[in-house]
């Protein structure tokens, strides 16, 4: 700092000491810096350390590999990298899964963007009947966990290739080929159903912001409808389209549950299932490589996205004041268009949920006769099954998984909500810009790292004792820590937004009135941010309930949550029970989302977008 005052510029040691002493006197009165430092340390441990440790593991000899590699444990090695990228095994280990992942992601992007784009246009720009209702109803598949759809799919299309109860089609006499029952095609369809609503949301809000006068001006100058669509509307929609495409891509790379349900049975590996396989077979070196690859793709995608958004700012539509929505009558397209919207709702919501529900009350799948229906799988006891002889609601494991879900995800969401608000507090208030910037960036980092890779990273770091921290594997603490980190991008973003919106004046007013820090937090800041805090806790809670990838790596039977419990049931082929649990998760997620929207007063669409 340069002192403008002539007397200070002489910069003698005395004045430097004075300045330091004065800064300390100021800092002592304002805990913001202390809180910021504690947060920075916490996130360095929770977020930065796992990521670094997994990156380090890529290039050092892992436990158990020492003998085979004739190198001491912990020594530098390029073995894992070579093995993954340039060995006879590379095709199986890396390239094939990478190709599978990429092709599924590409397929899902194309399909979901065509479906979602059409629906967004129908809802926002045409006189589609019941468009208000559709605007909410068509978003539902996005609120359901992806594997709800995947399990519904297998319930219907499963064939003899894998064991367990056959699918409905099979029982009804149609032999379903493998390409229809498993692998690429069903994965693309299911991910498309899931992400199409996301496109509806993003593109819909862009369409709403688009000033109809821009189109009118072109029309007045003599442009045809087609020309307006391709030269005015489409270019203006491009940023939204590209961005939603990239975000879907990033999500698909990290998607675990769908390939787990639909890919693993036929050996259709994606990056995430390969990572899971590497971890479950204790090849930590290879797991590190896979995790690093997933991370790299995530980082790259988001980098491209940010670059493009920067570009897109040039397209910022000026003055959306006259943004009245011009709607077009559907004319002879009335029936096909309406039918399309209805079909999407039926296929994306009604069929999966109904299938799951029916499957839980049928003894033999796909036989629609009255004596085949029973509520035994829900509430029966002493069934003539090999195991799980009671209905799911009478099974203690179910309830303990439910309780775990509540405690683990609840604790993590509560913690991340509060931490997010504190991050917001420090970012907005800190007199040192660097501290705020560091917190903003580090809390955003998990967003670049798909959940499954992050779980692997957390496992690497905390599975064994480190300094004063005991080994955490198998405890619910490791789950909570990983969840907190995983939820920080959202929590800190909403915390920063909330604090920025609040401004510093209400708190300063309290300061001047004589309130100390604690008093200001408890009677001014927190009460004002009540709603923001509630949604910063509830939204991650909902996504936590739906989440699979973190838990599949970190949970053990003792710390089963509903998701891992249902996947375990899937593994054991307890189809009815598994579907019952999944159905409950889906309904919980749905109800929770609606509750949040009631609470925060936002439209469902807006709530999900953030």
């Amino acid at each position: 700092m340069v002192m403008i005052d002539g007397r200070m510029t002489r910069g003698d040691a005395g004045s430097r000491f004075q300045r330091l002493r004065h800064q300390l006197a100021v800092a002592r009165r304002d805990p913001v810096i202390a809180i910021g430092l504690v947060l920075a340390l916490l996130f360095a441990l929770l977020i930065l350390a796992p990521v670094i440790s997994i990156l380090v593991n890529v290039a050092i000899v892992q436990i158990g590999d020492a003998a085979r590699m004739r190198a001491p444990e912990g020594a530098f090695t390029l073995y894992y990298l070579t093995r993954a990228f340039a060995s006879r095994m590379s095709a199986i280990l890396l390239w094939q899964p990478l190709l599978n992942t990429a092709s599924v992601a590409a397929g899902a992007i194309v399909l979901s963007m065509s479906i979602g784009g059409m629906l967004a246009w129908l809802i926002n720009r045409t006189e589609l009947p019941g468009r208000g209702w559709f605007a909410t109803a068509l978003i539902i598949p996005f609120m359901l966990p992806t594997w709800t759809l995947a399990l519904a799919w297998t319930t219907i299309f499963k064939n003899r290739t894998v064991g367990g109860q056959p699918g409905w089609m099979e029982n009804l006499g149609f032999a379903t080929p493998d390409w229809l029952a498993y692998g690429r095609l069903p994965m693309i369809i299911i991910l498309s159903l899931h992400y199409a609503p996301f496109v509806i949301l993003i593109l819909g809000s862009a369409l709403q912001r688009l000033d109809a006068q821009l189109e009118d001006s072109a029309r007045i100058l003599g442009a045809s409808r087609r020309r307006v669509a391709f030269q005015i509307v489409l270019p203006l929609m491009r940023p939204a389209l590209l961005s939603s495409g990239l975000l879907i891509f990033a999500d698909c790379i990290g998607e675990f549950a769908v390939p787990y349900v639909l890919g693993l049975p036929v050996g259709f590996d994606t990056l995430s299932t390969s990572l899971y396989r590497a971890i479950s077979t204790r090849q930590s070196g290879m797991a590190a490589v896979m995790a690093a690859v997933i991370m790299a793709i995530g980082v790259l995608t988001l980098y491209i996205d940010t670059r493009m958004m920067r570009e897109a700012r040039r397209f910022a539509i000026v003055g959306g004041k006259g943004a009245m929505n011009r709607r077009r009558p559907l004319g002879r397209w009335f029936i096909p268009a309406t039918g399309f919207a209805v079909a999407f709702f039926v296929i994306g919501v009604v069929v999966p949920l109904l299938t799951l529900f029916l499957s839980t009350i049928m003894r033999v799948p796909g036989r629609f006769t009255p004596e085949n229906f029973t509520f035994d799988y829900w509430i029966g006891s002493n069934l003539d099954t090999v195991a799980l002889r009671n209905g799911i609601l009478l099974t203690p494991e179910f309830w303990s998984a439910g309780l775990n879900t509540l405690v683990i995800i609840g604790a993590a969401s509560l913690a991340s909500g509060v931490l997010g608000l504190l991050v917001g507090y420090v970012v907005i208030r800190s007199p040192f810009a660097a501290l705020g910037a560091f917190l903003r960036q580090i809390t955003f980092m998990p967003y670049l790292v798909p959940g499954i890779a992050f779980a692997a990273a957390t496992l690497t770091l905390f599975a064994v004792p480190r300094g004063p921290i005991p080994a955490l594997y198998g405890t619910s603490i490791i789950l909570i820590l990983a969840l907190i980190a995983d939820q920080m991008p959202f929590a800190s973003r909403s915390g920063i937004a909330a604090m920025a919106q609040l401004g510093k004046e209400p708190e300063e007013a309290a300061r001047v009135a004589g309130a100390g820090w604690w008093r200001r937090m408890t009677s001014i800041v927190m009460p004002i941010q009540k709603r923001a805090l509630a949604s910063a806790i509830l939204l991650p809670f909902i996504s936590g309930i739906k989440g699979v990838s973190l838990f599949i790596i970190l949970a053990v039977p003792a710390t089963d949550v509903l998701t891992t419990y249902s996947l375990r049931l899937v593994d054991y082929n307890y189809t009815q029970a598994a579907n019952a649990v999944v159905l409950m998760i889906a309904l919980l997620a749905l109800a929770g989302t609606i509750l949040i929207n009631r609470l925060t007063g936002k439209g469902i669409a807006k709530g999900l977008e953030s």
């Binding site: 700092m1 200070m8 006197a25 209400p506 001047v512 309130a515």
Partner: protein
């Protein structure tokens, strides 16, 4: 009773080239209604926030009474919550989750005042500020003027010895502004608090303050009574900033007609040292259409347009490409297009040197008396 003393106060923000406030020396006496006036970004709000303790100094010292509250050399910093003063924010910063009553009560609660006393005090302040009826409402249910009064009441309830106001009237409409201005004056007289008031609105400063401190670019320009600042601006900035319509400023410049005239009148005036008159300012209301004693002829100007402002008129006069504005309270008889002889009243002339510093007419007169000049002696300099 405390005076506020600012000694060599400097404030730098990290990453900014120039200081937000530099080397400010100012004493605000007890009971004063001091207005910090200046354009936006001049450092007035920063100064106010430093007095409040919401910003800390980069250099210098602030004392409230005997108590040094922020000092670099002493290494002390007293946080705002311990300075016992009141601050009303531009945005009012009412706590949205508390009713009017709770907002006002908050400070009293912090001071651990017994319930009954608190209640009496809150009621009293609400009564005085005429917000009694809104006691149970939330800030979002109040109009701007009501919010402003609640913000004031919240601070007055704790009887601060010093009340700081940061543009509290800028968000109000014209009528409310006038009303609140009267209210503030009344409060100042009734509560006898020292008030420091920040505004960019000279009208507000003129009507309210007992003393005005004009700031620009982080530096203090002039401190004085409102009248003083208007009639004897110490430099060009103050002269041009104060006054509406703004002062007519003519640079001495042979290229332009008016500038040439001014140059002939003032350019050769002998002044002490090397300083010379570089520009002349004429207040719009000090232009006359007839010669009076000591008036300076400006020549024959064309009346371009008349702008009525309701009870007064602004006349746009031109001489070639140059424009002068004249403000008057008498209905103009001339029509646009007419040609009029214009004079500047002697007391309305402000002379500035090349650095923009004021040159006193008396100074010129004195020198003139000692050393008479020859032909072309300006009319304003009677022998």
């Amino acid at each position: 009773m405390p005076d506020i003393t600012l000694t060599n106060v400097t404030k730098n923000y990290a990453g900014h080239g120039h200081a937000a406030v530099s080397d400010l020396n100012l004493t605000i006496a007890h009971g004063e209604f001091m207005c910090l006036l200046g354009p936006s970004g001049c450092g007035k709000t920063t100064t106010l926030r430093m007095i409040a303790g919401l910003e800390h100094l980069s250099g210098g010292e602030i004392a409230i009474g005997e108590r040094v509250v922020d000092s670099l050399s002493a290494g002390t910093f007293l946080p705002p919550e311990q300075r016992r003063l009141g601050l009303v924010f531009q945005s009012y910063a009412l706590w949205p989750h508390m009713t009017v009553e709770r907002n006002i009560d908050f400070g009293l609660r912090l001071r651990k005042i017994p319930e009954a006393e608190r209640r009496a005090k809150v009621n009293d302040v609400m009564e005085k500020l005429r917000i009694r009826d809104y006691a149970a409402r939330y800030p979002s249910q109040l109009s701007g003027g009501q919010q402003q009064r609640v913000a004031l009441a919240r601070m007055l309830a704790v009887n601060p010895e010093i009340l700081l106001l940061d543009e509290p009237l800028s968000n109000l409409d014209a009528t409310l502004r006038l009303e609140m201005r009267a209210e503030l004056r009344r409060l100042h007289e009734e509560f006898r608090t020292t008030i420091v008031f920040v505004t960019h609105d000279q009208w507000e400063a003129m009507t309210l303050a007992t003393t005005i401190a004009v700031m620009n670019g982080g530096r203090l320009q002039q401190v004085g009574a409102p009248d003083d600042i208007y009639s004897r601006p110490v430099n060009r900035f103050v002269a041009e900033f104060i006054g509406n319509p703004p002062i007519n400023m003519i640079s001495l410049d042979a290229q332009s007609v008016l500038g040439g005239l001014a140059a002939r009148l003032f350019g050769k005036l002998p002044l002490g040292g090397t300083s010379k008159v570089a520009s002349v300012g004429i207040r719009p209301e000090e232009i006359a259409f007839s010669a009076t004693v000591g008036a300076v002829p400006l020549g024959t100007l064309k009346l371009e347009s008349i702008m009525p402002t309701g009870g007064s008129w602004i006349l746009e006069l031109s001489l070639g490409a140059e424009r002068l504005f004249h403000a008057t309270h008498t209905r103009p008889t001339a029509r646009p297009g007419d040609v009029v002889d214009c004079f500047a009243k002697a007391e309305g002339l402000h002379l500035f040197d090349a650095d923009g510093q004021r040159i006193e007419l008396t100074e010129i007169r004195a020198q003139n008396a000692a050393q008479p000049i020859g032909q072309g002696r300006p009319a304003l300099l009677p022998a």
